[in-house]
Amino acid sequence: MREITYLEAVREAMTQEMERDEKVFLIGEDVGQYGGAFGASFGMLEKFGPDRILDTPITELGLTGAATGAALVGMRPIAEIMFMDFLTLASEQLVNQAAKLRFMFGGRATVPMVLRTPAGSGTGAAEHHSQSLENWFAHIPGLKVVMPSTPYDAKGLLISSIRDNNAVVFVEHKLLYKTKGPVPEEPYAIPLGQADVKREGKDLTIVATSVMVSRALEAAKTLAEEGIDVEIVDPRTIRPLDAEPIIQSVIKTGRVLIVHEAVKMGGYGGELAATIAESRAFGYLDAPIVRLAGRDIPIPYNRTLELSAVPQVPDIIAKAREIVQGKV
């Protein structure tokens, strides 16, 4: 199959959906001629014109609300927030309006919109451009939260997100943009709320999200050489969570390591750990549930510190080893 990058997959999903449905439009800072800070919409202005590719001044709250309002009267906007850190500016409209309008109005409104945003560290952009705040939105009823880890998932999940009749927060990862993988040319939809087993194994379940999926896969190779056979489950959608494949995997392996980039305390790993601990998998656990996550610091600028702030492949290997060897 043809291989394209995660960034191209995102662009292709948007382009194909905009071709299919004229109610879909894109709004965000510098999404037009500039093509978006990371190039996700590069060339789309030329294709769809300025009425459907809307450049905005710096107005995170305003543009998020504008997308919400347009959705309320039947459009299907895609809003881009340049860095997830700036959702801190937009969250009133996302959390109080987009997420709640339907429920608040007795189920008599729909808000079909997508808010795309790149998260994560690794680009040297420091404290204000590197955060992973997905658990903020996983905490909000009315939102869906999607975190694709491969180009294939990015395209299929973004198409589903655009077609979904709810407000979907679509979290991309900057370091994944340039990764390549097989992606069908025609449009296809991966249902939201469906986890994916990225690798089968029997000794340890690793539940990983976003960029940590590829790091876990990398770690699995080394671990395999040591005779540790790892199963990797990627929730892909963190709200709603498809818990069953995770529970089944843990029942099978008896051990689990949760890996994400976001800060550990208050992060989504807690949700995963708690979901396992209150499930029927609890009785099958041969080891404590372990989380490996971002350090309890803002993301620093210095390259070495930045790398050390979030889990890397060797950290995953070491932690997996400890668990399997009964050292935790």
Binding site: G62, G65, A66, G69, A71, M75, R108, A109
Partner: protein
């Protein structure tokens, strides 16, 4: 001058505006009573004194046009033609209410009827308004939106960003600031003035106007112009309706930030009585005719109260319905 304006309005239309203003007054009085009697839980924000702003503004719309309201939104709802029974039922938190009892006073909406909802967040409706306007424009829909907000909302960042985007995308939206002089206890005069608020229109590059918000004809004229402008593709406008709320901000208000004298002065300028006087002086109505309208409005509200009180509570089993659309 005023008299000329009076005559541009048909008797039927004038009667309807009077009815809506009286119904608002009656709704608010009933709301207050129900609250005092412990039949309502929560809080509410009464719009008594601001009836001309709501009715004058919304009277310029076609039935399928849109409004976006705010927390002090009962009058806006009524002026947009809400079914008073469903509205009162929502206020009582009943299943028959506009929002199935989920939203209550601060969130009454009727999307199908063009009322896109009140809002619990001050300034929360302004960014939405930009998007609603853009959605309409993008699909060539000729409808327009009135977006209401208070003087307090004008100090929020949401206001600034929304004005900028509205002008940039030339959306068919009339932004109407109901300047009732206070945001809770904070006097608008401490950070702005009515003139400055209207002047923001210029700063952002759109037409602006300021009205005597207690004069229905004045409000109506300014809003009509802006609505026509928007419908013709001319983009957004900003209008400041100067008015006053007679009651406290909400039930927790001790009114320590204003004088009794100030309240009484504004009560002298009661918007309903002013319009009533005009149409009677003009000979369009007799006092008896208007008494009948008033009485009818109060009766409607009494019926709505009964409807609401007799309506069913939502079932606890249904509580999780409506979070997500299929």
């Amino acid at each position: 001058m005023q008299e000329e304006k009076v005559r541009t309005i048909s008797k039927a239309e004038a009667a309807e505006m009077l009815r809506l203003m009286y119904a608002t007054r009656a709704f608010e009085e009933q709301a207050e009573k129900s609250y005092m009697m412990g039949k309502i839980h929560g809080t509410m924000h009464l719009s008594i004194g601001q009836e001309a702003s709501a009715v004058g503004s919304i009277s310029t719309l076609d039935p399928d046009d849109y409004i976006l309201g705010h927390h002090r939104g009962h009058g806006l709802c009524i002026a947009k033609g809400a079914d008073l029974n469903l509205m009162m039922a929502e206020f009582y938190g009943k299943e028959a209410g506009y929002c199935r009892g989920r939203g209550g006073s601060m969130h009454i909406a009727d999307v199908a009827g063009g009322n896109l909802g009140a809002n619990g967040v001050v300034g929360g409706g302004l960014p939405l308004a930009v998007g609603v306007g853009y959605g309409l424009k993008m699909r060539g829909d000729k409808r327009v939106l009135l977006s209401f907000f208070g003087d307090g909302a004008a100090s929020t960042g949401a206001f600034h960003e929304s004005m900028i985007l509205a002008v940039l995308y030339q959306v068919p939206v009339v932004f109407i600031c109901e300047n009732n002089q206070y945001a809770m206890s904070f006097p608008a005069r401490k950070w702005t003035s009515s003139e400055r608020l209207a002047g923001f229109a210029d700063s952002y590059g759109m037409p602006g106007a300021m009205t005597d918000g207690n004069n229905l004809l004045d409000v109506r004229e300014a809003v009509q112009k802006a609505v026509d402008h928007a419908r013709a593709g001319g983009g957004p406008s900003l209008i400041i309706n100067n008015t006053y709320r007679w009651r406290g901000h909400s039930k927790s208000d001790r009114n320590r930030y204003r004088t009794q004298q100030e309240i009484e002065e504004w009560q002298e300028a009661d918007p309903i009585r002013r319009y009533r006087k005009l149409v009677v002086a003009d000979g369009l109505f007799t006092d008896e005719e208007i008494d009948d309208i008033e009485k009818g409005a109060y009766e409607q509200i009494e019926l709505a109260r009964v409807f609401a009180e007799e309506s069913e509570e939502p079932s606890v089993e249904s509580i999780e319905e409506g979070v997500y659309a299929p």
